[in-house]
């Protein structure tokens, strides 16, 4: 019960106050640079905290009690919350650790100086130092060789840039030429059409008995086509002339099973199970499937509820035509139905007729009057003279169309070039050659693809559709390291979550490749990408020098 002798300020003895590891005597945990600050004031043997807040006895330095607010009196113990301990780590790099790691039973310094001898921390500095030196040499070599490669990339990038500029100038010139040609062709077309129009009017005079209802219906395909073209432009978000699965997936009207997401399967249905469609296919295959849903969404179209049989058949076989007719029909008296009925029999023929018609003609721009009547399958038979004028007009139209299309194509190319020129390929165009490449990385479940400056995506290994993780957004590296990190944003939406995005962390290597992919946050992906473009020997050497300087 009566324990006596352990009354101690003996703890002092445990603390090695003066450290002899360096040549200059200084308190434990103090760097060489700071050593001069740890001198007793002559006379009263006192010492002032480095922040000047207090003056204490010199013997209170490293006495395992915190006297200074800044922790400067206890560089070698864990007593001060804000204290710092300096490991000399001879043979390796010196290191500063927080006081909280001094004497906590864990060897933090490679020379073991943060723990008292009792803990028995081995000195691993020379081993670590040698390994670090080897690593540094290896890194230096890598950066040196990588920088050579980077130079090639810079050269290529600059070449590409020049080519783009040249090409652009060339295209501008061609546009001017084509515009001129276009106005000529337009004049020819107008002339031919005037003749055609006149002839047809005459012919139509003679065909007065034609049913107004039928005539009215004639307009439908054109109307449809116009709508479809407009929609095509809207869907084609990346303006590449194709509507793709991902472009449809953003339209919630297409969520046919109403589960809150447009799946790839759902989107593909509208693309006739293809990955993408061009305008033609869109008009004939996609739009007929989409339109009813659009109308449904806009409340224009009520799906047939216990419909009359004829309507039902239309709904299933004809698809598109229905809503239009239905819409038009609704206000009309009921006997109209009876009148219209016979037309159903010719539905199939109608469709074929439509297709032929599209095949024969350039579909982009239709001029209503000139089109043969489509509604009743068999085009009207014109007299030979009228027929000739129509054919001439068609030719003129085709010629005009061709020029017009050429211009649009050129403009599209210019636009693409401009877009590319707008991308930040680095200070020396060193990243440019990566645009257009794609790098894949496989893990257990997915194949990830990074197409720099374009997109990042993933695809299940066991098949299934590709999911866009993000489209090129910008460089987001911090400070001087702007070109170390990229972001790809606005990927496919996550169920119940945000749109997917990806961060690309880039390091120097001799070959370009993706080395790791993870998903640290739900729907936020992280790619490790290495490429010679990130190698910069100069910067590397500079950083090395700074490090070495710190050590001294």
């Amino acid at each position: 019960m009566i324990q006596v002798q352990t009354f101690l300020l003996v703890l002092l003895a445990l603390i090695v106050n003066q450290c002899l590891a360096g040549d200059v005597p200084r308190p434990r945990g103090v760097s060489l640079a700071m050593a001069p600050l740890y001198q007793p004031r002559g006379g009263d043997n006192s010492w002032t905290c480095l922040d000047g807040s207090r003056t204490i006895k010199f013997t209170h330095i490293n006495d395992d009690y915190c006297d200074c607010a800044d922790g400067s009196d206890e560089p070698g113990t864990s007593a001060c919350a804000k204290g710092q301990f300096y490991c000399i780590n001879k043979g390796h790099q010196p290191m500063i650790i927080p006081s909280s790691r001094v004497q906590d039973g864990i060897c933090d310094c490679c020379d073991g100086s943060d723990e008292l001898d009792a803990r028995g921390c081995p000195n691993t500095c020379s081993v670590l130092g040698a390994a670090a030196a080897a690593q540094r040499r290896q890194d230096a070599e890598l950066h040196k060789r990588g920088t050579e490669k980077r130079k090639e990339m810079i050269a290529q990038g600059n070449k590409l840039k020049l080519e783009r500029e040249a090409r652009r100038a060339d295209l501008e010139k061609r546009i001017l030429e084509q515009e001129q040609l276009k106005s000529e062709k337009e004049q020819l077309k107008l002339n031919a059409e005037a003749l055609e129009s006149e002839a047809i009017d005459t012919f139509k005079e003679q065909q007065r008995e034609l049913d107004a209802e039928t005539a009215h219906a004639e307009e439908e395909p054109q109307q449809m086509r116009q709508e479809a073209s407009l929609s095509f432009v809207r869907y084609d978000a990346n303006k590449d002339g194709f509507v793709e699965v991902t472009e449809l997936m953003v339209d919630m009207n297409l969520d046919r099973d109403r589960n809150g997401v447009v799946t790839v399967e759902e989107a593909k249905y509208f693309l006739d199970e293809r990955d993408r469609v061009d305008l033609d296919a869109f008009v004939t295959l996609t739009w007929p499937r989409i339109k009813p849903l659009k109308m449904l969404a806009e409340g224009l179209f009520q799906p047939p509820q216990a419909p009359e049989e004829d309507e039902h058949i239309e709904a299933t076989t004809e698809g598109v035509a229905i809503p239009t007719t239905e819409e038009q029909r609704e206000p009309q008296p009921s006997e109209e139905h009876a009148d219209h009925e016979p037309a159903i029999d010719s539905d199939e023929a109608d469709e074929e007729g439509d297709e032929d018609q599209y095949d024969d003609e350039e579909p982009d721009v239709g001029v209503g009057e000139a089109q043969p009547d489509a509604e009743n399958a068999s085009p009207p038979v014109y007299d030979p003279e009228t027929q000739r004028l129509i054919e001439q007009a068609n030719e003129a139209r085709n010629a005009f169309e061709e020029v017009d299309r050429t211009i649009r194509e050129i403009k599209q190319e210019v636009k693409e070039i401009d877009e590319q020129s707008g991308k930040d390929y680095g200070l020396h165009e060193e990243w440019a050659v990566l645009d257009g490449e794609c790098h894949a990385f496989e893990d257990r479940e997915y194949i990830y693809t990074l197409c720099p400056f374009d997109r990042a995506s993933q695809k299940p290994r066991n098949g299934g559709a590709e999911t866009t993780l993000g489209r090129w957004d910008q460089w987001i590296g911090e400070g001087n390291n702007k070109y170390s990190t990229q972001r790809y944003a606005n990927g496919a939406g996550c169920w119940n979550g945000p749109q997917r995005s990806a961060i690309i962390h880039i390091t120097c290597a001799l070959e370009s490749r993706v080395t790791a992919v993870s998903e640290p946050n739900r729907c936020e992906y992280y790619f490790e990408f290495e490429t010679p473009a990130a190698c910069d020997n100069e910067a590397f050497q500079q950083a090395q020098d700074e490090n070495l300087h710190d050590e001294l």
Binding site: I2, T6, F7, N496
Partner: protein, 934 residues
């Protein structure tokens, strides 16, 4: 932890995370939709008629028995009243000759309670008075109508059956025509009237046998059918608390500390359920059920522990202090409003009630803890900070999070792995791709003084390639359906079955799975999280198991539901103790019942990142603490949703002063480790965590004293200020023991908070309270508006107390073992203070062999002295580095420390409003005196 109704939600749609709307109450039963509840509640309008059968009374040395009769149907019951040591009576009522035995709860009590001797004081025709030998406690049993009055020192504190709401459905044969009868419709109440008429017309009228509720013999809820082979078997009883002004207890509900009246609402429900996105201010059932309820008034506190593990509803009657009732009282001349009362209603089992008589709040808490036990002293690390998330994805992720805490110099003790670490939700296995080398991962954490906790849920994947499933199938270890087949439900792994932990053989088998020879991919330092053990069954009625499943001993799930999680914990605790007999297990559980605190810590389940949920973390844990569960906390930041910086900061600060401290989040939330927020947030969080770690010696001492003295670690104000009515309902403040007063900031955008400093007498005198950051003294009782910055956690230390701290920062608490202590001495009006410190090896059971130091420090007459409680046998290398004294009127010149006649001078420094005695340097097991010199 988890989203449970995932499948259903997938259909409902995409609203959930963007705007957290909360649980759909329609997925859970109301009292009206529950046949036994509405039957039992009906009695509240008619009353019942039970009486003691004259001549059947027998008295024994410690108890009294008699037969009871229901005067309406003449069914007979036996009743037993037993006196227990510690001002407690136990009241049991069962059928005299039941058709078959009725379930009696096992394993909830920590041991068979010790009885106390009684003697008959008075016996007249209609009543008998017994008292305990010390004459402190007295019970008066009234024969007709049957009623028991319980007195503490001659003051009536509890009456059982005061309102004649005793209701006991005896077991009966199923009426022939009810066999294929219609089940109660889903709508319940709506159809009830019509069904009643129909059934009454059909049912044979054997007197007292008929129960005219359509749900009596089978019942439907949503698409689920309950076959109810035993028919009606409910038990219910009311308890009045004449001395009480407030009632509290019966966790777990996301509600205020003080229970609200249930008139016009559903009763509070106790039925362990996995509630997806629970809502606050609700009487709905949650994950745990602890049927202990206290009545508290300025003079007396008493309580009732209703020991029943079937579904239970509790109606609360509190005095309505509205104008009408006051007028009625005035006119009728009655000066007193009716006593607060509680009506316990359980679906099956027997009446088994423990009445604890106080007289003070701390007494009833201790009396209840004496019955069901306390959390044993935990390992110190488990009081540190836990970092969890559903899920840390792989070994690299775990290593990187751990190292980030070091990079930002933020202390952290434990990393947690949620279900995704497993191989396809097969517990005791690992996903070999994400976690190829779990032992190395564990070792890397251990080397930094850190721990790993992994989740093990009770559901078992039905997969013939899974050893656990095969063992359970072959050996018949699963809970069975009524037809004797293994029950199959749906949970994380998909199709799952549930081990029947009520079977001791199954528990043994389960415990054996934790052996390092079996679960050899973890170390003996890896601790366990038992979740989903209500049990959660995604496709079951109310997301749990059907009531007509069959358990060991042929008991229906109905009879034992609320104990399933408890039995699961018993297996786990046993397994961990066997795995390493000299290491204290740490287990976290979601489901719990009275007594589960002996095995596990709890958290408040799947809360939400909202200010209201932050506020409820304190309310809920205070209620749990007085119901035995001191080791309680809430998911910091909120499980669902994304907290903004301010909410996260305040949440960390609040959790700093709750016993269990874990950050956790749903898989769909954004990452929220402190360094992912702006620097200020990171620093505020770091500051809070450092404060937590500095108080670990106080937390540890408090937990030792919980085990030693049955006193809760955190307490509502009324515990120590029982006469101050103003503080009864305060549940945004808490006490840590009687040493700290904590009032965290739990509102958005405030620059000050109102703090209530409680009064010790009716003259509004209060204790001194010292701000723990500045030692500024609060001398007046009453409300005070206190300014706060973003860093401020408003906490005061009581004048008159001494508490231990460790003010050196470390990466993890385990690395602080040898660090020196700081004593904080806060003086009362007389210039005195005292307080305890407990220390040991922080890990093993050696303390039970006396390997500890337990010391009381006392400050009086300008001198600090110590007194060891028991021998200070533990060899500690710690020492006292400083003594902070607040409340001195003048600053002393110096101090003198004397040990064994040898004296030495110490420096005294002034800091803020306190003085510091510099570096006494004294070892922990040495007697000393420190005298201040003027």
């Amino acid at each position: 932890m988890h989203l449970t109704l995932g499948i259903i939600l997938a259909i409902i749609g995409s609203l959930m995370l963007t705007s957290v709307t909360g649980v759909d109450p329609n997925n859970f039963k109301t009292c009206e939709q529950s046949s036994f509840c509405r039957r039992s509640r009906k009695i509240q309008s008619s009353g019942s008629k039970y009486a003691i059968i004259p001549g059947t009374l027998n008295t024994y040395a410690d108890s009294l028995t008699a037969d009871l009769i229901n005067k309406e149907n003449h069914h007979q019951f036996t009743f037993k009243l037993e006196a227990l040591v510690g001002s407690t009576f136990r009241l049991q009522i069962d059928e005299k000759q039941p058709l078959h035995p009725r379930y009696r709860v096992e394993h909830a009590l920590k041991e068979e309670p010790k009885t106390a001797r009684i003697s008959v004081q008075k016996e007249t025709d209609g009543e008998i008075t017994i008292s305990t030998d010390d004459h402190k406690n007295k019970a008066v049993i009234h024969g007709d109508p049957f009623r028991i009055d319980f007195y503490e020192n001659d003051v009536l504190v509890v009456t059982a059956n005061a309102k004649n709401w005793l209701y006991f459905e005896h077991l009966r044969q199923k009426p022939a025509d009810a066999a294929d009868g219609h089940a109660d419709g889903e709508a319940g109440a709506g159809n009830a009237a019509a069904d009643d008429d129909q059934q009454q017309a059909e049912a044979p009228k054997s007197p007292g046998e008929a129960i005219d509720d359509p749900g009596a013999w089978e019942e439907n809820f949503k698409s689920h059918h309950d076959s109810k082979p035993n028919g009606p078997e409910a038990v219910a009883l009311d308890f009045s608390f004449p001395e009480a002004e407030v009632l509290f207890g019966i966790p777990e509900h996301a509600d205020n500390f003080v229970l609200r009246s249930t008139s016009g609402t559903d009763p509070y429900r106790l039925y362990n359920l996995d509630v997806f996105e629970y809502i606050v201010e609700s009487k709905m059932a949650l994950y745990g059920s602890v049927p202990v309820l206290y009545g508290h008034g300025p003079r007396r506190t008493a309580g009732v522990y209703w020991q029943n593990v079937a579904e239970t509803w509790v109606d609360i009657y509190t005095a309505e202090t509205n104008v009408v009732s006051s007028l009625v009282n005035f006119v009728s001349g009655s000066r007193k409003s009716p006593s607060p009362a509680a009506h316990f209603i359980s679906e099956s089992g027997i009446v088994d009630a423990f009445i604890v008589l106080g007289p003070k709040p701390i007494d009833v808490f201790k009396q209840y803890a004496a019955l069901t036990g306390t959390h044993p002293l935990p390992q110190l690390f488990s009081l540190g900070y836990h970092q969890s998330r559903w899920n840390y994805n792989d070994e690299r992720d775990v290593a990187s999070v751990s190292s980030k805490f070091d990079e930002y110099d933020i202390p952290m003790d434990t990393m947690w792995l949620d279900i995704e670490y497993t191989d396809g939700k097969r517990y005791f296995t690992w996903d070999k791709f994400k976690f190829p080398e779990p032992l190395t991962m564990v070792k890397n954490l251990t080397e930094l003084g850190r721990h790993l906790v992994v989740i093990i849920d009770p559901h078992v994947k039905r997969d013939t390639g899974y050893f656990f499933h095969n063992d359970c199938t072959e050996r018949g270890y699963y809970v069975k359906t009524r037809d004797g087949n293994d029950y199959e439900g749906w949970c994380w792994p998909g199709s799952s079955s549930y081990p029947d932990f009520f079977n001791p053989v199954v528990r043994d088998y389960y415990a054996g799975q934790y052996a390092l020879s079996k679960f050899n991919t973890v170390s003996e330092n890896t601790m366990i999280w038992n979740d989903m053990n209500e049990p959660s069954v995604f496709n079951g009625p109310e997301v749990t198991a059907p009531k007509d499943l069959v358990h060991y001993g042929n008991w229906e799930h109905r009879d034992v539901h609320n104990l399933y999680g408890h039995m699961h914990l018993m297996g786990t605790f046993d397994g961990l103790e066997k795995r390493d007999p000299n290491q204290r297990p740490f287990i976290l559980t979601r489901a719990h019942f009275a007594g589960s605190q002996r095995y596990a810590a709890i958290w408040t389940g799947d809360n939400t990142a909202e200010w209201s949920h932050l506020q409820h973390s304190i309310k809920m844990c205070l209620t749990e603490a007085v119901a035995g569960f001191s080791f309680c906390g809430a998911d910091v930041g909120g499980f669902f949703g994304n907290p903004d910086s301010e909410l996260l900061e305040r949440w960390y600060q609040t959790a700093t002063f709750l016993p269990f401290f874990r950050g956790h989040a749903h898989i769909d939330t954004k990452r929220r480790e402190p360094w992912l927020f702006p620097e200020r947030t990171r620093l505020v969080i770091r500051d809070a965590l450092l404060k937590r770690y500095s108080y670990l010696p106080l937390w540890y001492t408090s937990f030792y004293e919980l085990e030693l003295k049955n006193e809760p670690v955190i307490r509502p104000l009324l515990t120590h200020y029982p006469a101050d009515k103003e503080c009864f309902a305060i549940d945004n403040q808490l006490l840590v023991q009687d040493r700290l007063l904590v009032r965290p900031v739990m509102q958005q955008g405030v620059s000050k908070v109102d703090v209530y400093f409680p009064a010790i007498d009716d003259k509004k005198n209060g204790d001194y309270w010292y701000d723990v950051d500045t030692y500024q003294r609060q001398e007046r009782a009453g409300y005070e508006s206190v300014p706060v910055t973003e860093y401020k956690i408003p906490v005061w230390q009581r004048g008159g107390s001494i508490l231990p701290k460790k003010e050196r920062q470390r990466r993890a608490s385990t690395l602080m073992l040898h660090d020196p202590y700081t004593l904080i001495v806060c003086l009362d009006r007389q210039g005195k203070a005292e307080g305890t410190l407990y220390l040991d090896d922080e890990k093993s059971y050696d303390y039970r062999q006396g390997q500890y130091i337990y010391v009381n420090y006392e400050f009086a007459h300008n001198q600090l002295t110590n007194r060891f409680i028991g021998k200070p046998k533990y060899k500690s290398s710690s020492w006292i580095e400083r003594v902070v004294i607040a409340g001195l009127s003048t600053v002393p010149q110096s101090a003198t420390i004397t040990v064994n006649g040898v004296s030495q001078q110490l420096e005294v420094l002034q800091q803020d409003h306190a003085v510091i005695v510099r570096k006494p340097g004294i070892k922990m097991n040495v007697d000393f005196a420190i005298k201040l010199n003027y």
